[in-house]
Symmetry: C2
Protein backbone atom coordinates (compact mmCIF):
# COMPACT_ATOMS: atom_id res chain seq x y z
CA UNK A 1 0.00 0.00 0.00
CA UNK A 2 0.93 3.61 -0.45
CA UNK A 3 1.15 5.19 2.99
CA UNK A 4 1.62 8.89 3.70
CA UNK A 5 2.91 9.86 7.12
CA UNK A 6 2.03 13.46 7.94
CA UNK A 7 4.61 14.77 10.36
CA UNK A 8 6.66 11.76 9.35
CA UNK A 9 9.91 13.52 10.18
CA UNK A 10 9.47 12.93 13.92
CA UNK A 11 10.80 9.82 15.68
CA UNK A 12 7.49 7.91 15.77
CA UNK A 13 6.42 8.72 12.20
CA UNK A 14 9.82 7.96 10.69
CA UNK A 15 10.19 4.81 12.80
CA UNK A 16 6.85 3.47 11.59
CA UNK A 17 7.73 4.55 8.04
CA UNK A 18 10.90 2.50 7.85
CA UNK A 19 9.10 -0.52 9.30
CA UNK A 20 6.33 -0.31 6.71
CA UNK A 21 8.86 0.19 3.92
CA UNK A 22 10.69 -2.90 5.17
CA UNK A 23 7.37 -4.77 4.92
CA UNK A 24 7.06 -3.76 1.26
CA UNK A 25 4.81 -0.71 1.44
CA UNK A 26 5.46 2.54 -0.42
CA UNK A 27 6.00 5.25 2.17
CA UNK A 28 5.83 9.01 1.70
CA UNK A 29 7.26 11.08 4.54
CA UNK A 30 5.16 14.24 4.72
CA UNK A 31 6.22 17.46 6.37
CA UNK A 32 5.16 21.07 6.45
CA UNK A 33 8.15 21.71 4.18
CA UNK A 34 8.78 19.33 1.26
CA UNK A 35 12.57 19.61 1.76
CA UNK A 36 12.32 18.35 5.32
CA UNK A 37 10.22 15.38 4.21
CA UNK A 38 12.71 14.62 1.43
CA UNK A 39 15.63 14.92 3.86
CA UNK A 40 14.21 12.40 6.33
CA UNK A 41 13.22 10.08 3.46
CA UNK A 42 16.85 10.12 2.31
CA UNK A 43 18.03 9.28 5.84
CA UNK A 44 15.62 6.34 6.04
CA UNK A 45 16.69 5.07 2.62
CA UNK A 46 20.29 5.12 3.85
CA UNK A 47 19.23 2.68 6.61
CA UNK A 48 17.01 0.62 4.29
CA UNK A 49 18.45 0.99 0.77
CA UNK A 50 15.82 -1.18 -0.88
CA UNK A 51 12.89 0.64 0.70
CA UNK A 52 10.45 2.65 -1.39
CA UNK A 53 10.54 5.83 0.65
CA UNK A 54 10.08 9.34 -0.64
CA UNK A 55 9.37 12.71 0.93
CA UNK A 56 7.14 15.67 0.18
CA UNK A 57 4.89 18.27 1.74
CA UNK A 58 1.90 16.97 3.73
CA UNK A 59 -0.72 17.84 1.08
CA UNK A 60 1.13 16.10 -1.74
CA UNK A 61 1.81 13.09 0.49
CA UNK A 62 -1.87 12.81 1.48
CA UNK A 63 -3.07 13.23 -2.10
CA UNK A 64 -0.80 10.50 -3.46
CA UNK A 65 -1.54 7.82 -0.84
CA UNK A 66 -4.24 5.26 -0.04
CA UNK A 67 -3.68 5.43 3.71
CA UNK A 68 -2.69 8.53 5.62
CA UNK A 69 -1.07 8.51 9.05
CA UNK A 70 -1.25 11.58 11.27
CA UNK A 71 1.93 11.75 13.37
CA UNK A 72 2.13 15.39 14.42
CA UNK A 73 2.08 16.80 17.95
CA UNK A 74 -1.44 17.53 19.19
CA UNK A 75 -0.84 21.27 18.93
CA UNK A 76 -0.31 20.84 15.17
CA UNK A 77 -3.25 18.50 14.57
CA UNK A 78 -5.91 21.05 13.68
CA UNK A 79 -3.76 23.25 11.42
CA UNK A 80 -2.26 20.21 9.70
CA UNK A 81 -5.69 18.79 8.84
CA UNK A 82 -6.98 22.14 7.52
CA UNK A 83 -6.96 22.07 3.77
CA UNK A 84 -6.53 18.28 3.61
CA UNK A 85 -10.27 17.49 3.46
CA UNK A 86 -10.29 16.78 -0.26
CA UNK A 87 -7.03 14.84 -0.21
CA UNK A 88 -8.30 12.63 2.62
CA UNK A 89 -11.81 12.04 1.27
CA UNK A 90 -12.76 8.36 1.36
CA UNK A 91 -9.43 7.38 2.92
CA UNK A 92 -8.47 5.92 6.26
CA UNK A 93 -6.69 8.43 8.49
CA UNK A 94 -4.68 6.62 11.17
CA UNK A 95 -4.01 9.03 14.02
CA UNK A 96 -1.19 8.34 16.46
CA UNK A 97 -1.74 11.67 18.24
CA UNK A 98 -1.77 11.64 22.05
CA UNK A 99 -2.32 15.04 23.66
CA UNK A 100 0.00 15.79 26.55
CA UNK A 101 0.49 18.93 28.57
CA UNK A 102 2.91 19.72 31.35
CA UNK A 103 3.25 17.86 33.62
CA UNK A 104 3.19 15.22 30.89
CA UNK A 105 2.70 12.42 33.41
CA UNK A 106 -0.78 13.78 34.14
CA UNK A 107 -3.70 12.82 31.96
CA UNK A 108 -4.91 15.88 30.08
CA UNK A 109 -8.63 16.20 29.53
CA UNK A 110 -9.10 18.21 26.36
CA UNK A 111 -11.41 21.23 26.69
CA UNK A 112 -13.74 19.62 24.12
CA UNK A 113 -14.27 16.64 26.41
CA UNK A 114 -13.35 14.44 23.44
CA UNK A 115 -10.31 12.46 22.42
CA UNK A 116 -7.92 13.97 19.88
CA UNK A 117 -9.07 11.26 17.46
CA UNK A 118 -12.71 12.32 17.80
CA UNK A 119 -11.71 15.95 17.32
CA UNK A 120 -10.01 14.96 14.06
CA UNK A 121 -13.12 13.05 12.99
CA UNK A 122 -15.32 16.05 13.79
CA UNK A 123 -13.05 18.40 11.88
CA UNK A 124 -12.88 16.18 8.79
CA UNK A 125 -16.45 14.92 8.69
CA UNK A 126 -17.79 11.48 7.89
CA UNK A 127 -16.14 11.10 4.49
CA UNK A 128 -12.80 10.47 6.22
CA UNK A 129 -12.48 7.21 8.17
CA UNK A 130 -10.49 7.99 11.31
CA UNK A 131 -8.83 5.12 13.18
CA UNK A 132 -6.67 5.63 16.28
CA UNK A 133 -3.56 3.51 16.93
CA UNK A 134 0.11 3.50 18.03
CA UNK A 135 -0.37 6.02 20.90
CA UNK A 136 1.25 3.78 23.47
CA UNK A 137 4.45 2.74 21.78
CA UNK A 138 7.81 4.31 22.42
CA UNK A 139 9.59 5.68 19.36
CA UNK A 140 12.95 4.76 20.79
CA UNK A 141 13.45 1.31 19.23
CA UNK A 142 11.33 1.61 16.10
CA UNK A 143 14.21 2.09 13.67
CA UNK A 144 15.90 -1.05 14.97
CA UNK A 145 14.21 -3.52 12.66
CA UNK A 146 15.49 -6.44 14.75
CA UNK A 147 13.76 -5.11 17.85
CA UNK A 148 11.06 -7.55 18.99
CA UNK A 149 8.24 -5.80 20.81
CA UNK A 150 6.50 -7.23 23.86
CA UNK A 151 3.78 -4.56 23.86
CA UNK A 152 0.46 -4.33 22.04
CA UNK A 153 -1.01 -1.63 19.84
CA UNK A 154 -4.60 -0.72 20.74
CA UNK A 155 -6.77 0.16 17.75
CA UNK A 156 -9.95 2.25 18.12
CA UNK A 157 -12.40 3.10 15.38
CA UNK A 158 -16.05 3.05 14.48
CA UNK A 159 -15.80 0.79 11.41
CA UNK A 160 -14.73 -2.81 11.74
CA UNK A 161 -13.33 -3.05 8.20
CA UNK A 162 -11.16 0.02 8.69
CA UNK A 163 -9.81 -1.40 11.94
CA UNK A 164 -8.93 -4.59 10.09
CA UNK A 165 -6.89 -2.63 7.56
CA UNK A 166 -5.08 -0.86 10.38
CA UNK A 167 -4.59 -4.16 12.21
CA UNK A 168 -2.66 -5.43 9.19
CA UNK A 169 -0.54 -2.26 9.21
CA UNK A 170 0.20 -2.82 12.91
CA UNK A 171 1.27 -6.37 12.13
CA UNK A 172 3.36 -5.23 9.17
CA UNK A 173 5.16 -2.90 11.58
CA UNK A 174 5.94 -5.97 13.71
CA UNK A 175 3.44 -5.57 16.52
CA UNK A 176 0.31 -7.23 17.86
CA UNK A 177 -2.88 -5.24 17.40
CA UNK A 178 -5.80 -5.40 19.81
CA UNK A 179 -9.22 -4.02 18.88
CA UNK A 180 -9.99 -1.55 21.68
CA UNK A 181 -13.47 -0.62 20.50
CA UNK A 182 -15.11 2.55 19.26
CA UNK A 183 -13.23 5.74 18.37
CA UNK A 184 -14.62 7.23 21.59
CA UNK A 185 -12.42 4.79 23.53
CA UNK A 186 -9.37 6.53 22.10
CA UNK A 187 -9.59 8.94 25.04
CA UNK A 188 -8.40 6.10 27.26
CA UNK A 189 -5.66 5.03 24.86
CA UNK A 190 -4.47 8.62 24.49
CA UNK A 191 -4.56 9.12 28.26
CA UNK A 192 -2.49 5.97 28.72
CA UNK A 193 0.33 7.79 26.94
CA UNK A 194 0.56 10.23 29.85
CA UNK A 195 0.39 7.36 32.33
CA UNK A 196 3.22 5.58 30.48
CA UNK A 197 5.33 8.77 30.39
CA UNK A 198 4.98 8.90 34.18
CA UNK A 199 5.98 5.25 34.46
CA UNK A 200 9.01 5.94 32.22
CA UNK A 201 10.06 8.76 34.54
CA UNK A 202 9.57 6.79 37.75
CA UNK A 203 11.27 3.65 36.44
CA UNK A 204 14.02 5.51 34.54
CA UNK A 205 13.19 3.70 31.30
CA UNK A 206 12.30 4.98 27.84
CA UNK A 207 9.73 2.63 26.46
CA UNK A 208 7.12 1.46 28.96
CA UNK A 209 4.22 0.01 27.04
CA UNK A 210 1.13 -2.07 27.67
CA UNK A 211 0.24 -5.64 26.88
CA UNK A 212 -3.25 -7.07 27.02
CA UNK A 213 -3.24 -10.28 29.07
CA UNK A 214 -5.74 -13.13 29.16
CA UNK A 215 -6.50 -13.21 25.42
CA UNK B 1 -3.85 -4.73 58.98
CA UNK B 2 -7.55 -4.46 59.56
CA UNK B 3 -9.23 -4.00 56.19
CA UNK B 4 -12.91 -3.20 55.63
CA UNK B 5 -14.36 -3.95 52.22
CA UNK B 6 -17.49 -1.90 51.59
CA UNK B 7 -19.67 -3.79 49.16
CA UNK B 8 -17.45 -6.76 49.95
CA UNK B 9 -20.22 -9.21 49.12
CA UNK B 10 -19.63 -8.83 45.37
CA UNK B 11 -17.20 -11.01 43.43
CA UNK B 12 -14.30 -8.52 43.36
CA UNK B 13 -14.60 -7.42 46.99
CA UNK B 14 -14.96 -10.93 48.35
CA UNK B 15 -12.17 -12.22 46.10
CA UNK B 16 -9.77 -9.56 47.34
CA UNK B 17 -10.96 -10.20 50.90
CA UNK B 18 -10.07 -13.86 50.89
CA UNK B 19 -6.67 -13.10 49.36
CA UNK B 20 -5.88 -10.54 52.05
CA UNK B 21 -7.08 -12.87 54.78
CA UNK B 22 -4.81 -15.56 53.33
CA UNK B 23 -1.94 -13.06 53.61
CA UNK B 24 -2.66 -12.58 57.32
CA UNK B 25 -4.82 -9.46 57.34
CA UNK B 26 -8.03 -9.09 59.33
CA UNK B 27 -10.86 -8.60 56.86
CA UNK B 28 -14.34 -7.22 57.49
CA UNK B 29 -16.86 -7.75 54.71
CA UNK B 30 -19.14 -4.73 54.74
CA UNK B 31 -22.58 -4.61 53.21
CA UNK B 32 -25.65 -2.42 53.33
CA UNK B 33 -27.16 -5.14 55.51
CA UNK B 34 -25.02 -6.62 58.28
CA UNK B 35 -26.57 -10.08 57.72
CA UNK B 36 -25.39 -10.12 54.09
CA UNK B 37 -21.85 -9.17 55.12
CA UNK B 38 -21.89 -11.89 57.79
CA UNK B 39 -23.19 -14.44 55.30
CA UNK B 40 -20.43 -13.81 52.76
CA UNK B 41 -17.82 -13.76 55.54
CA UNK B 42 -19.03 -17.22 56.57
CA UNK B 43 -18.73 -18.46 52.97
CA UNK B 44 -15.18 -17.14 52.72
CA UNK B 45 -14.23 -18.74 56.06
CA UNK B 46 -15.49 -22.04 54.68
CA UNK B 47 -12.93 -21.71 51.87
CA UNK B 48 -10.18 -20.41 54.17
CA UNK B 49 -10.89 -21.81 57.64
CA UNK B 50 -7.91 -20.11 59.30
CA UNK B 51 -8.72 -16.67 57.89
CA UNK B 52 -9.74 -13.79 60.15
CA UNK B 53 -12.85 -12.76 58.25
CA UNK B 54 -15.97 -11.22 59.71
CA UNK B 55 -18.97 -9.37 58.32
CA UNK B 56 -20.99 -6.33 59.28
CA UNK B 57 -22.75 -3.28 57.91
CA UNK B 58 -20.61 -0.80 55.96
CA UNK B 59 -20.47 1.83 58.73
CA UNK B 60 -19.35 -0.61 61.40
CA UNK B 61 -16.81 -2.13 59.01
CA UNK B 62 -15.36 1.29 58.12
CA UNK B 63 -15.25 2.39 61.76
CA UNK B 64 -13.38 -0.70 62.92
CA UNK B 65 -10.68 -0.76 60.20
CA UNK B 66 -7.42 0.98 59.38
CA UNK B 67 -7.88 0.68 55.62
CA UNK B 68 -11.21 0.84 53.83
CA UNK B 69 -11.83 -0.55 50.35
CA UNK B 70 -14.75 0.75 48.29
CA UNK B 71 -16.02 -2.11 46.09
CA UNK B 72 -19.55 -1.06 45.21
CA UNK B 73 -20.99 -0.39 41.75
CA UNK B 74 -20.55 3.23 40.65
CA UNK B 75 -24.28 3.88 41.07
CA UNK B 76 -23.93 3.08 44.79
CA UNK B 77 -20.70 5.04 45.37
CA UNK B 78 -22.19 8.35 46.46
CA UNK B 79 -24.94 6.95 48.76
CA UNK B 80 -22.48 4.45 50.27
CA UNK B 81 -20.00 7.19 51.19
CA UNK B 82 -22.68 9.44 52.67
CA UNK B 83 -22.50 9.23 56.42
CA UNK B 84 -19.07 7.58 56.40
CA UNK B 85 -17.07 10.83 56.62
CA UNK B 86 -16.29 10.46 60.33
CA UNK B 87 -15.54 6.74 60.07
CA UNK B 88 -13.11 7.35 57.19
CA UNK B 89 -11.36 10.40 58.64
CA UNK B 90 -7.58 10.10 58.39
CA UNK B 91 -7.81 6.71 56.69
CA UNK B 92 -6.86 5.47 53.26
CA UNK B 93 -9.88 4.71 51.09
CA UNK B 94 -8.94 2.34 48.27
CA UNK B 95 -11.52 2.63 45.52
CA UNK B 96 -11.89 -0.16 42.96
CA UNK B 97 -14.91 1.54 41.35
CA UNK B 98 -14.98 1.73 37.56
CA UNK B 99 -18.06 3.44 36.12
CA UNK B 100 -19.64 1.63 33.19
CA UNK B 101 -22.84 2.27 31.31
CA UNK B 102 -24.48 0.38 28.47
CA UNK B 103 -22.89 -0.44 26.12
CA UNK B 104 -20.30 -1.38 28.72
CA UNK B 105 -17.56 -1.73 26.09
CA UNK B 106 -17.72 2.04 25.55
CA UNK B 107 -15.78 4.39 27.78
CA UNK B 108 -18.21 6.44 29.84
CA UNK B 109 -17.27 10.04 30.50
CA UNK B 110 -18.90 10.99 33.77
CA UNK B 111 -21.01 14.18 33.65
CA UNK B 112 -18.64 15.74 36.21
CA UNK B 113 -15.71 15.35 33.81
CA UNK B 114 -13.86 13.63 36.65
CA UNK B 115 -12.95 10.06 37.48
CA UNK B 116 -15.08 8.19 40.01
CA UNK B 117 -12.06 8.28 42.34
CA UNK B 118 -11.88 12.07 42.15
CA UNK B 119 -15.61 12.31 42.77
CA UNK B 120 -15.13 10.23 45.93
CA UNK B 121 -12.26 12.49 47.01
CA UNK B 122 -14.40 15.60 46.42
CA UNK B 123 -17.29 14.13 48.35
CA UNK B 124 -15.16 13.10 51.33
CA UNK B 125 -12.78 16.05 51.49
CA UNK B 126 -9.07 16.16 52.18
CA UNK B 127 -9.14 14.34 55.49
CA UNK B 128 -9.72 11.04 53.64
CA UNK B 129 -6.81 9.75 51.53
CA UNK B 130 -8.32 8.28 48.37
CA UNK B 131 -6.21 5.85 46.33
CA UNK B 132 -7.51 4.12 43.19
CA UNK B 133 -6.56 0.52 42.34
CA UNK B 134 -7.80 -2.89 41.12
CA UNK B 135 -10.11 -1.49 38.40
CA UNK B 136 -8.62 -3.64 35.66
CA UNK B 137 -8.64 -7.08 37.21
CA UNK B 138 -11.23 -9.71 36.53
CA UNK B 139 -13.01 -11.07 39.59
CA UNK B 140 -13.30 -14.49 38.01
CA UNK B 141 -10.17 -16.15 39.40
CA UNK B 142 -9.65 -14.19 42.60
CA UNK B 143 -10.97 -16.85 44.97
CA UNK B 144 -8.61 -19.43 43.47
CA UNK B 145 -5.64 -18.75 45.72
CA UNK B 146 -3.35 -20.83 43.47
CA UNK B 147 -4.15 -18.61 40.47
CA UNK B 148 -0.99 -16.82 39.32
CA UNK B 149 -1.78 -13.50 37.67
CA UNK B 150 0.03 -12.19 34.61
CA UNK B 151 -1.58 -8.75 34.81
CA UNK B 152 -0.65 -5.63 36.75
CA UNK B 153 -2.64 -3.45 39.12
CA UNK B 154 -2.35 0.27 38.38
CA UNK B 155 -2.36 2.48 41.47
CA UNK B 156 -3.30 6.18 41.30
CA UNK B 157 -3.19 8.65 44.14
CA UNK B 158 -1.92 12.04 45.16
CA UNK B 159 0.22 10.92 48.10
CA UNK B 160 3.25 8.74 47.58
CA UNK B 161 3.13 7.19 51.06
CA UNK B 162 -0.49 6.17 50.64
CA UNK B 163 0.29 4.57 47.29
CA UNK B 164 3.08 2.61 48.97
CA UNK B 165 0.64 1.22 51.52
CA UNK B 166 -1.73 0.22 48.73
CA UNK B 167 1.17 -1.25 46.74
CA UNK B 168 1.82 -3.60 49.63
CA UNK B 169 -1.85 -4.57 49.68
CA UNK B 170 -1.69 -5.30 45.96
CA UNK B 171 1.33 -7.50 46.52
CA UNK B 172 -0.34 -9.24 49.47
CA UNK B 173 -3.20 -10.06 47.12
CA UNK B 174 -0.65 -11.71 44.84
CA UNK B 175 -0.29 -9.10 42.11
CA UNK B 176 2.28 -6.63 40.80
CA UNK B 177 1.46 -2.98 41.46
CA UNK B 178 2.50 -0.17 39.14
CA UNK B 179 2.35 3.47 40.23
CA UNK B 180 0.19 5.13 37.57
CA UNK B 181 0.49 8.67 38.89
CA UNK B 182 -1.92 11.20 40.33
CA UNK B 183 -5.51 10.44 41.31
CA UNK B 184 -6.57 12.38 38.20
CA UNK B 185 -5.06 9.59 36.09
CA UNK B 186 -7.65 7.22 37.51
CA UNK B 187 -9.97 8.35 34.69
CA UNK B 188 -7.75 6.39 32.29
CA UNK B 189 -7.56 3.35 34.55
CA UNK B 190 -11.33 3.39 35.06
CA UNK B 191 -11.90 3.82 31.32
CA UNK B 192 -9.62 0.85 30.65
CA UNK B 193 -12.21 -1.29 32.42
CA UNK B 194 -14.69 -0.58 29.61
CA UNK B 195 -12.00 -1.26 27.01
CA UNK B 196 -11.20 -4.59 28.69
CA UNK B 197 -14.90 -5.53 28.85
CA UNK B 198 -15.02 -4.99 25.10
CA UNK B 199 -11.92 -7.13 24.61
CA UNK B 200 -13.50 -9.85 26.78
CA UNK B 201 -16.57 -9.81 24.57
CA UNK B 202 -14.66 -9.85 21.28
CA UNK B 203 -12.21 -12.55 22.39
CA UNK B 204 -14.82 -14.61 24.29
CA UNK B 205 -12.73 -14.57 27.46
CA UNK B 206 -13.54 -13.47 31.00
CA UNK B 207 -10.43 -11.88 32.36
CA UNK B 208 -8.55 -9.69 29.90
CA UNK B 209 -6.14 -7.50 31.85
CA UNK B 210 -3.18 -5.26 31.24
CA UNK B 211 0.50 -5.64 31.88
CA UNK B 212 3.00 -2.81 31.77
CA UNK B 213 5.96 -3.79 29.59
CA UNK B 214 9.46 -2.35 29.45
CA UNK B 215 9.92 -1.83 33.20
Amino acid sequence: MKIAILGGTGPEGSGLGIRWAAAGHKVIIGSRLAEKGEGVAAELKAILPGGEISGSDNLTAASQSEIVVLAVPYSAQKPTLEGLGTALKGKILVTVVAPTQKPKARVWRLPSGLSAAEEAQQQLGDSVRVVSAFQNIGAHNLKDLDYVADFDVLVCGDKRDDKQVVTRLVEDAGFRAVNAGALQNSSVVEGLTSVLIGINIRHKVKDAGIRITGI
